[in-house]
C-alpha cells in the first residue's frame, strides 16, 4: 500500500509539473505581450506622455517576467550607490555616462534605446522562455524562517520562535525575524489548523486585482472590511481599539508609524483586512457543497426508486426530468427556476441583494446548481442499479428466497454505489472551480468566472495559478476516489495482490 501511494504521489507531481510547464510555455509564447495592457487602467491616462508610457510598459513587462529592464538612473545608482551625487551627474545631457551605459549594457546583452522626450537611455533584454518558466518554479514555494528578514535599519531584530496568544485568545506559534509573525495557529474556521511557514507564491495579479498576490485574490475575503474591537496589551499598557486587520496575516513592516506603534509591540504591523464576505473559493465551496449534498441525497434516492420501479410511472417521470435537464440549455432552466423562486417563493434572484450574510441568498443558487446534479446522480445510480439487477447473483439471491426489497437493499444498492463513491471526491473538489453559469446568473462572487475572465483579461499569473491549482486538486481528487473505493470494494486493493486462488 505504501509503495503504491508513493508511486502515485510521484506520478501526480510529475503530471502537475507537465501540465503547469505546458501552460507556462503556452501563456508566455502564444499570448502576444502587447495584449496584457488591454485591461490596464493606468496606460490610457499617460498615453500622451511618451516617456512615462514607455517606462510603465517596460516596468510592467519586467514585473510579468517577460523582460529585464534597466534605466539610466537605475544603472547610475547601481554603479555609484543610491545616494551618491554622481547619480544626478550621470543624468546630465553631456555626461560620459551615456556612453558607459550604452557599452556596458550592450555587453550584457541588453538592447539600449533612448526615451523620446528626455533622451535618457534605457535597456531591455528579453528573458528566454525557459528562464521564465524556471523563474516561476524557483519562486513558487516560499519557506519562512527567522533569518528571512534582513533589514539594515533594524539590526537588533530578535530572531526565534515563541508561543503566544492571538487577539482572539487562541494559541499560536509566533516568530520574529520571519516574514509572517504568526507561523502556526489554531482557530474555529476550517481546517482549524493554519500555518504561514510554507506559502505558495504564484505571482501577483495583473491587470485585474492589480498587485494582489493571485492566491489572495481567490482565497482572500471580499466585500467591505469588518471592524471589531480589540483589547490587548502593548508595551505593558492595556489598549483597546477598533480594527479590521487580520492579525494572522501580519507581516514585517520596516517603518512603523504612530498608529502602528499604538497597536503593535513589534515590527509586525502589516496585515490584510478581514472582510464581511467570504472569499471566492469559500463562496463557491459553500454553494457547491450544499448543492452536492442535495444532489446526492435527492438524486440517489430518486434514482434508486426509479430503478426499483423500472418502466413504471415513477421511473418514466424521472427519466423525463433527466432528459429535460440534459437536453435544454442550462441557462434556460436556471432562468425558469429563478423566476419561479422569485415570483412564487419570494427569494432574491441576485446574490448581492441580501448579501453573503443572509442564508436566503444561497437558496436559489444552491438549488439551481443541484437541478443538474440531481439529474446526473439519478441517471447514473439508476443505470448501475439496472445493470446490477440483471446480474446472476441477483437471480440467485431471489432463488434463495430473499424478497425483492432484501435483494435491493442488501445486495444491489451497495454494489451500484461503488462507482458513485469513486466520483464523490472529484465532485467535492470540483466545487472549488465554481459554477460559471449559475454564479454568473445569480451574480454570486465565486470562482466560476475567474478562469474565463482571467483569460479574457490576459491575466497571465491568474491563468497559470488557476491551472496549477485545478490540476493539483483534480489529481488529488482522483487519488482520493481510488483510495475511497478500496474501502467499499474488497476486490480492489492498492497493493499488488497475490493471485486469487
Amino acid at each position: 500500500m505504501l509503495g503504491y501511494v508513493v508511486k502515485r504521489v510521484f506520478q501526480s507531481i510529475l503530471s502537475v509539473l507537465i501540465v503547469s510547464t505546458l501552460t507556462l510555455f503556452l501563456v508566455y509564447s502564444c499570448v502576444p505581450r502587447q495584449l496584457v495592457f488591454k485591461g490596464d487602467l493606468v496606460l490610457p491616462k499617460i498615453a500622451n506622455k511618451p516617456d512615462e508610457y514607455n517606462d510603465y510598459k517596460f516596468r510592467t513587462w519586467e514585473k510579468l517576467g517577460y523582460i529585464d529592464y534597466m534605466t539610466q538612473q537605475e544603472y547610475a545608482q547601481e554603479v555609484f550607490g543610491a545616494d551618491s551625487p554622481n547619480v544626478s551627474q550621470a543624468l546630465l545631457r553631456d555626461s560620459s555616462f551615456y556612453e558607459k551605459f550604452r557599452t556596458d549594457l550592450s555587453a550584457r546583452g541588453y538592447k539600449v534605446e533612448a526615451l523620446p522626450i528626455s533622451g535618457y537611455l534605457y535597456a531591455t533584454k528579453d528573458v528566454a522562455l525557459l528562464t521564465r518558466v524556471f523563474r516561476w518554479y524557483a519562486k513558487l514555494i516560499q519557506i519562512d524562517h527567522p533569518y528571512r528578514i534582513q533589514d539594515p535599519n533594524n539590526p537588533g531584530l530578535k530572531r526565534g520562535y515563541f508561543l503566544t496568544r492571538d487577539w482572539g485568545g487562541g494559541l499560536a506559534l509566533a516568530a520574529s525575524g520571519t516574514i509572517y509573525k504568526y507561523q502556526i495557529w489554531v482557530d474555529d474556521s476550517f481546517p482549524f489548523f493554519h500555518q504561514n511557514i510554507v506559502r505558495l507564491n504564484m505571482g501577483r495579479s495583473y491587470p485585474t486585482f492589480d498587485g494582489v498576490p493571485v492566491l489572495d485574490v481567490i482565497s482572500g475575503g471580499q466585500g467591505r472590511s469588518a471592524r471589531r474591537e480589540i483589547r490587548t496589551t502593548v508595551r505593558g499598557e492595556e489598549v483597546s481599539f477598533f480594527t479590521s486587520i487580520d492579525e494572522h496575516s501580519l507581516k514585517y513592516k520596516p517603518v512603523l508609524d504612530r498608529l502602528d506603534m499604538n497597536k503593535f509591540e513589534d515590527n509586525y504591523a502589516d496585515g490584510n483586512l478581514t472582510t464581511i464576505d467570504p472569499s471566492m473559493l469559500g463562496t463557491s465551496f459553500t454553494i457547491g457543497m450544499y448543492s452536492l449534498l442535495l444532489s446526492l441525497a435527492i438524486g440517489l434516492t430518486v434514482g434508486v426508486i426509479a430503478a426499483m420501479k423500472k418502466d413504471r410511472i415513477f421511473d418514466k417521470i424521472t427519466m423525463a426530468y433527466i432528459v429535460f435537464i440534459s437536453s435544454i440549455p442550462t441557462l434556460l432552466y436556471i432562468a425558469l427556476f429563478a423566476r419561479f423562486g422569485m415570483k412564487v417563493l419570494g427569494l432574491p434572484d441576485k446574490f448581492p441583494f441580501l448579501g453573503s450574510q443572509n442564508i436566503l441568498s444561497y437558496i436559489l443558487p444552491t438549488i439551481s446548481l443541484s437541478l443538474g446534479g440531481i439529474a446526473g446522480e439519478a441517471l447514473w445510480i439508476r443505470r448501475y442499479m439496472v445493470d446490477q439487477m440483471n446480474a446472476d447473483y441477483v437471480k440467485f439471491s431471489r432463488s434463495k428466497g430473499l424478497s425483492q426489497a432484501e435483494v435491493f437493499f442488501k445486495h444491489i444498492v451497495r454494489n451500484a454505489l461503488i462507482p458513485i463513491v469513486h466520483s464523490i471526491p472529484m465532485a467535492v473538489i470540483g466545487t472549488l472551480a465554481g459554477a460559471l453559469i449559475t454564479e454568473s446568473f445569480y451574480a454570486v462572487p465565486g470562482m466560476g468566472k475567474m478562469f474565463p475572465s482571467a483569460i479574457s483579461d490576459y491575466n497571465n499569473a491568474m491563468i497559470i495559478a488557476l491551472t496549477f491549482i485545478f490540476t493539483v486538486v483534480s489529481i488529488l481528487a482522483i487519488f482520493l476516489g481510488d483510495i475511497l473505493v478500496t474501502f467499499v470494494d474488497p476486490r480492489i486493493s492498492l497493493a499488488a495482490r497475490k493471485e486469487a486462488r
Binding site: 430473499l402 442488501k410 467499499v488
Partner: protein, 356 residues
Amino acid sequence: MDQNKGILKVRDLVVKFRVRRRELTAIRSVSLDLYEGETLAIVGESGSGKTVLTKTFTGMLESNGRIAAGSIEFEGRNLLELKTDKEWEKIRGVKIATVFQDPMTSLNPLKRIGIQITEVIEKHQKLPPEEARRIALTLMEKVGIKDVEKRFYDYPFQYSGGMRQRIVIAIALACKPRILICDEPTTALDVTIQAQILDLIRSLQRDYGFTTIYITHDLGVVANVADRVAVMYSGQIVEYGSVREIFYDPRHPYTWALISSLPTLARKGEPLYAIPGTPPTLFNEIKGDAFAPRNRYALGIDFEEEPPFFKVSESHYAKTWLLDPRAPFADPPHAVKLMRKKGNIYAEGGAAEAGK
C-alpha cells in the same frame, strides 16, 4: 429409482412469453412426475424450454412470462395458486432450491461468503446470527471447503470457480430443500472440477435425501448422475424413461439424433453427425410433430397431427408416431444400434449375475 412416491406433479403446463408485442409459447403442455429421492435429468438443445420449465417450480419466470394453463402439484397444493412473492418465498430456497450455471457470477462479489450463506438461514429458519454462522460453517465443511473459520470471512474473488460452485451448493442446501434444481451446474467449470462437483451433489443427496433435477445438454453428465431422463424439444417433453432406457433403447428420432451427435460414438472417417436445420419458431402454432421438418424418419402424419405418448415400458414413454403399430419399420442410426448392443451386453451380464 423404484420409490414411486411422487413429490412434484406437473400437469399440462403451458408457459407463454410476450416478446415485442408477440406471444410465444415456450412450454407447450408439459406433464412430468418427479419422484422422491430420484435424480431427473432434463436434456435438450438450447431454447427447448428446460430452464423455463424449472423456473415455473419456483415462480421465477421473467416478468414478461405467464403460465397460461396447467398445474404444478407440490406437497399437496398447486404452486400456481401462489400469487404474491411472500408466498413464493416460503418455497424458494426453502423447499425448492436452484444452483445456476455460472458460479463466477452467482455470488455477490462484494459480500463475504459467510454472510451470503447465513442470510438465507437467518431469513428462513429465523435463527440468531451465531447459530446461523455455526450452521454455515458446517455446510461449508460439508461441501468440502477447508479452513472454514477463515474462509467464512473471505470474498468470492478469493475463491476459485469450483470452490464458488461449492458455496453456491451450500447456500442452496442451507435450508435443507426437498428439491434441488441444478441448471447446468458444471457447464462453466473445467472437466476435472465438473466431476468433483457432480460427486459432491451426489454424496450430499445421499446425506440430505433431496430430489435433484439436472438441466443439461451434456449427455455425459446425464449418464453419470441421472436415474431418469426427460428429453425436451421445442417446449415439449418428447421422450422420458430411465437412464438405461434412454441411452440403450431410445425410441424418439430426436433422441436418436442426440445420441448420434455424441463424438464418442462416431465412426472413424465419417463426419460427426449434426442435426440438420434449426428448431421451429415458437411464435407460431406448431402443427404436427415439432421435430418433423428436421427428422429424416418423419412420416406423412408427423406434419399433420401431433403424436401422443406411446408406452414403451412401465417407465419409458416416447412421443413419436414411429411407435404406432401402423408405422413402417424405421432403422435407427448406427450410434443407436451400437448403444443397444452395449445395453444388451449389460443386460445379459446382469441376468447372468442374477442367475448365479
